[in-house]
């Protein structure tokens, strides 16, 4: 079993004219490398009618509905994170309730509001109450503001995680750009570290030494297989880990850790 905790799909109201091909390609490549479940999110309209990282409420609803439809069409392969914009608190909480009720299994926070802001607290309180993880977009060491997003870095996510110790947070795409060593240092933290933050191994980055550093910072018990925009690099990291870890620990990364943080029954083996 292999669970991809960081996948994306597209729909007809995104700028991608090739959205069907990209969705089909993800599912086909997933079959080739053995992905059992793609846990995915859709970030509104991906920029067509509102910015990717600042999606409007109508775009969020359309994207979440499109993902629910995909999960309905591929019940054996697709699960969903409900994507919300914390600047619209009431809408976010209502959308979480609606989409979790319809079968989604987690919450996606992108970069609409920094992780240190109090506006994220109501969402995290819902996550704690419903027992679902939060996948949080992270810029590995944000030295300044980047255009198009109010990105958080690992230290900022860890501050949020410390405020909400009952919520399981997934630090997104450790290989997705930026200084991953900064994020790993934040996760390692002081005595005890930040135990409710898990590392999603996705991203196009395949740096030599990154996987060893992830294991050193969090151990195999807090690493999660993921792909994001490049399934090839996800597969490469898995192949590398096969040489690095004994089978029992590799299973943790492949699916057991994911199964332990998502709601019971989210995946076939539960």
């Amino acid at each position: 079993m292999l669970i991809d905790v960081h996948a994306h799909f597209y729909h007809d109201r995104t700028p991608r004219a090739d959205w069907r091909e990209r969705n089909a390609s993800r599912l086909e490549a997933g079959r080739k490398i053995g992905i059992t479940i793609h846990v995915a999110s859709i970030l509104g309209s991906f920029g067509r009618t509102s910015p990717t990282y600042f999606p409007s409420p109508p775009d969020l609803e359309y994207g979440n509905d499109a993902l629910l439809a995909l999960a309905h069409d591929h019940p054996d392969a697709v699960r969903g994170y409900v994507t919300v914009n914390p600047n619209y608190t009431a809408h976010a909480c209502a959308e979480i309730a609606r989409c979790l009720g319809a079968g989604m299994v987690g919450i996606k926070l992108a970069a609409s509001r920094r992780a240190t802001e109090a506006l994220l607290d109501p969402i995290c309180e819902v996550a704690a109450k419903r027992g679902v993880p939060v996948l949080h977009h992270v810029w590995q060491h944000r030295r300044h503001d980047w255009p198009g997003q109010e990105a958080s870095d690992g230290a900022e996510l860890c501050a949020l995680a410390a405020r909400h110790p009952k919520v399981r947070f997934i630090l997104a795409h450790i290989g997705g750009g930026g200084d991953w060593q900064h994020s790993l240092a934040a996760i390692r933290g002081g005595p005890g570290g930040v135990p409710n933050v898990y590392i999603d191994l996705s991203g196009s980055g395949v740096d030599g030494g990154m996987l060893e550093a992830c294991l050193d910072a969090a151990g195999p018990e807090r690493l999660l297989f993921g792909t994001d925009l490049t399934i090839d690099t996800g597969w490469a990291k898995l192949r590398y880990l096969e040489r690095l870890l004994p089978p029992r620990e590799l299973e943790l990364v492949m699916w057991r850790n994911a199964a332990s943080i998502f709601p019971r029954g989210a995946f076939p083996a539960d």
Binding site: D207, G209, L229, T230, I231, D232, T233, R239, Y240
Partner: protein, 257 residues
């Protein structure tokens, strides 16, 4: 036969990288089924005289027939012509130059002279677009990435020069390829290390639009794990002849000196 045209040995100044020794490289090659690697000396990319690393490179690779040395040439330093000649004498499959790390214009007069000399010596010139993702580089690592315009200028500068460009992404490859004449483009080879696989399928797209014969296998190891380049080819499920062309045949036909 799988030939990696984009490998290094030696330490990287900006972070700890495991497997950077000759033994580490050989182990990684065995692990990933790479038969031959074109190898450069990583530390000297950052030296004032990068050619000073070549002696070590030749010695380190001498006892390992699966490692082919790709020595550095700095065309702004006196004596570079001798280094190019030595590379040919020692059977180096190519030479490399990292002009922006050396602080010279990537398409300036020194590089054009080097390009012409490489053409005359029948040695391909290896040039990297980048070594690391620009978003993660060390705060003091401010060297610009190679511009596509520089590659277009170099390939036009001499009718015999052949370039192997590593670490280029899809947009870069397309800009140079379609910004060149067919004759110019036929003297350019691209390693696959930085080109995305599915679901974006950028490598598959390029193989269809630009052609299988323009691509060679490269990894960027040890800065990048070599499994990445193998995985993206495995995902393509290419016909055996096309896979073989990328992994070694294109080198044998177009680049072997």
């Amino acid at each position: 036969m799988r030939v990696d045209v984009n490998a290094f040995v030696g330490a990287y100044p900006y972070r700890r990288v495991p497997g950077a020794s000759v033994e580490g490289l050989l182990h990684a090659m065995e692990r990933t089924g790479i038969d031959v690697a074109w190898v450069s000396h990583l530390p000297s990319v950052f030296w004032r005289d990068p050619m000073a690393g070549n002696v070590w490179l030749f010695q380190a690779t001498a006892s390992s027939p699966q490692l082919r040395p790709v020595p550095a040439v700095h065309p702004g330093l006196a004596g570079w012509e001798r280094v190019l000649g030595e590379a040919a004498d020692r059977g180096a499959p190519a030479v490399r130059c990292d002009p922006l790390y050396y602080g010279i214009d990537a398409a300036g007069p020194e590089m054009r002279v080097l390009a012409a000399a490489c053409g005359a010596a029948r040695r391909p010139l290896v040039v990297a677009v980048r070594l690391e993702d620009g978003r993660q580089r060390h705060v003091n690592d401010r060297v610009p990435e190679l511009a596509a315009a520089a590659v277009r200028a170099l390939i036009r500068s001499d009718e015999d020069v052949r370039l192997v460009i590593t670490h280029a992404d899809r947009g870069f490859v397309e800009e140079v390829h379609f910004g060149s004449t067919p004759e110019e483009a036929a003297r350019l080879w691209w390693d696959v290390s930085w080109i995305w696989g599915p679901p974006e399928d950028q490598l598959e797209t390029l193989l269809g639009t630009i052609g299988v014969d323009r691509f060679v296998f490269g990894t960027g190891q040890p800065l990048r794990i070599p499994e990445s380049s193998v995985a993206k080819l495995d995902l393509l499920e290419l016909p055996p002849d096309q896979r073989a062309a990328i992994e070694s045949g294109n080198l044998a036909q177009g680049l072997a000196a």
